[in-house]
């Protein structure tokens, strides 16, 4: 187990270094002078220019600059946002819970609907329900989610007036952030009206962000279930006279779940990429919309830091999934 762990970590370290190199290069690949691009002014005070160069360390040789960048990054220092003058790490940490909350809710939606639809499709194979589920899954898989979000807003918020258009909670409520997760914070404050408002704000963004993972999970569940339902032990269970529900849920699903769990773990990248689009549509104050706004404002320390943090997150979650998979399934652990 230790060797398996070390081998996995051995792969992760060069990837992480590569990502830091990528984030570091970002600022050097900008065509033109980075300071001028960021300040956006034609006539800049030469003193101020020199000071900015020194502040960003751009007057040093490249390898030294990278070394400083790397050591600072490892200490959690990713520079200061040009716009707000707040450290990038601090901004990330305040906004990150919003993205986490949205992603968790999206994943809950995707897992419940995807698993359910996949099971029904597999059990009723070849039926109208099966074709319907597979059709919806294919459409979901091909969905431009930024458009899907607009359509849902158009129907449910504008036409029917059922859900709010944007934001995390109604401006009426003032919730003191404890965990940063709005649902948890409102519960901690025992404010049920605020909780309801936060929940309403979460519904549409969660559906939008969860659509592609839902489609992937439904397809995976169906094919995994079909494979399992052919096994001899399912026939044995049938012969014993067990109820269909018990056979499907206990004997079938349990054994079909392994590939599905892996797929769920591997959706982190999809979720974070989708969060950029979803948060932009719903004005959700998370790291995705933060990154896009920073690009618009040419706030390069934020762009650099945001890309690095998101990539690091994905690398580590994938490592975690890998290790967990190795713990559950010894065959993976010993495979070379």
């Amino acid at each position: 187990m230790i060797r398996f762990l070390l081998r996995r970590i051995g792969v992760v370290i060069p990837t992480f270094l590569g990502i830091t190199l990528l984030a570091f290069s970002l600022i050097h690949l900008i065509p033109g002078d980075p300071i001028l691009v960021m300040m956006g002014e034609r006539h800049i005070d030469p003193e101020f220019y020199k000071l900015s160069m020194q502040k960003l360390g751009l007057d040093q040789p490249l390898y030294l600059q990278y070394w400083h960048y790397l050591t600072h990054a490892l200490h959690g220092d990713l520079g200061v946002s040009v716009r707000s003058q707040v450290p990038v790490m601090q901004e990330f940490l305040t906004l990150f819970p919003a993205t986490v909350e949205l992603s968790i809710c999206a994943m809950i939606f995707a897992t419940i609907v995807g698993l359910g639809a996949g099971i029904i499709a597999a059990v009723k194979r070849g039926s109208v329900a099966d074709h319907g589920v597979m059709g919806v899954a294919l459409a979901g898989y091909s969905m431009p989610i930024f458009w899907w979000g607009l359509i849902l807003i158009m129907v449910f918020s504008v036409q029917l007036g059922l859900t709010p258009v944007s934001g995390r909670i109604d401006l009426l409520y003032d919730v003191t952030p404890v965990t940063g997760l709005m649902l948890v914070d409102t519960l901690l404050a025992h404010d049920m009206d605020a909780f309801k408002s936060a929940l309403e704000h979460l519904i549409l963004p969660s559906i939008v962000l969860g659509t592609i993972p839902m489609a992937v999970i439904a397809r995976m569940t169906r094919s995994s279930m079909l494979e399992v339902l052919r096994e001899d032990y399912i026939r044995t269970a049938r012969a014993k006279g067990l109820s269909t529900t018990r056979i499907v849920l206990v004997h079938g699903l349990r054994n079909a779940l392994m590939p599905v769990v892996t797929v769920i773990g591997l959706q982190v990248g999809t979720l974070l990429a989708g969060a950029v689009l979803t948060e932009t549509i719903f004005s959700w104050p998370g790291v995705g919309s933060w990154l896009i706004n920073a690009i618009g404002a040419r706030d390069y320390p934020v762009v650099q830091g945001g890309i690095l943090l998101i990539a690091t997150l994905i690398i580590f979650v994938n490592l975690l999934v890998d290790v967990l998979y190795g713990i559950i399934n010894p065959r993976i652990r010993h495979a070379r």
């Binding site: 990837t15 990248g269 994905i314």
Partner: protein, 305 residues
Amino acid sequence: MAQTVQTTAPVSTEVLSHPTPLHEFWLAYRANKGALIALAYLVILVLAALLAPLIAPHSPSEQFRDFMLTPPSWMHEGHARFLLGTDELGRDILSRLMHGARLSLMIGLVSVIVSLIPGIALGLLAAFYPGWLGTAIMRLMDIMLALPSLLLAIAIVAVLGPGLVNTMLALSIVTLPSYVRLTRASAMAELSKDYVIAAKLSGAGKVRLMFNTVLPNCMAPLIVQATLGFSSAILDTAALGFLGLGVQPPLPEWGTMLAAARDYIERAWWVVTMPGVTILITVLALNLMGDGLRDALDPKLKRLA
């Protein structure tokens, strides 16, 4: 070429000659109804894109000031001149979508080709030189895969600046790893086969082995991947356009059209709906075609149906 290929398909007694590989492929592809419909749609789309300057009812940039936000023609306020209605500047949506198809298809095609060629070359190199060169190539691809394709594309465009050419470049870079990995994996599988060893023994050089012996046998999964790459390129182009980081207005790129339509969500559903439906159907068709190609070209990869 055709007469040297042995087919393994069961030949019924009525059929006197073996079907050509192309015909055999077509028979297999035709069996998939969804893939067939997708192909028909894509043929129409390509024709509409190619002939857009000739058959589009209006110019994509002509502004009919008296017909701003006109609904589609089948609604009672609609106008027969504008089949799918007009946008906020009075431009014909159908014409813009047809011209937008030119952009989307071109970006998709260019980014697939620009990414496929170095992808194949790097993949073959990694398979033939599994030492430090292969390891270095694969590590580099792992780094590129650490970020989801859209995020990597956003990072690249953030540096290079938005625009048509930079979108193509960004999308070519982000799809590179999938081709490299796929080529390497299929080439490695081929390398241990007898025919490759025979070619090696008869004195074929490395380059000949790579491109003449091994590569043609790796093409099936690559064609499938290229189709799927095409669909994700179209989706990512639209996403970048929507975020304002891709093709810039007034060019009628589908995602860019959607970004402009956001402000009219309360008043003009067609401005929002039409570009999105076009993107969805096109991506769906490409995915269906990819599935059909996979089943027809490579029965081994066929999913549990």
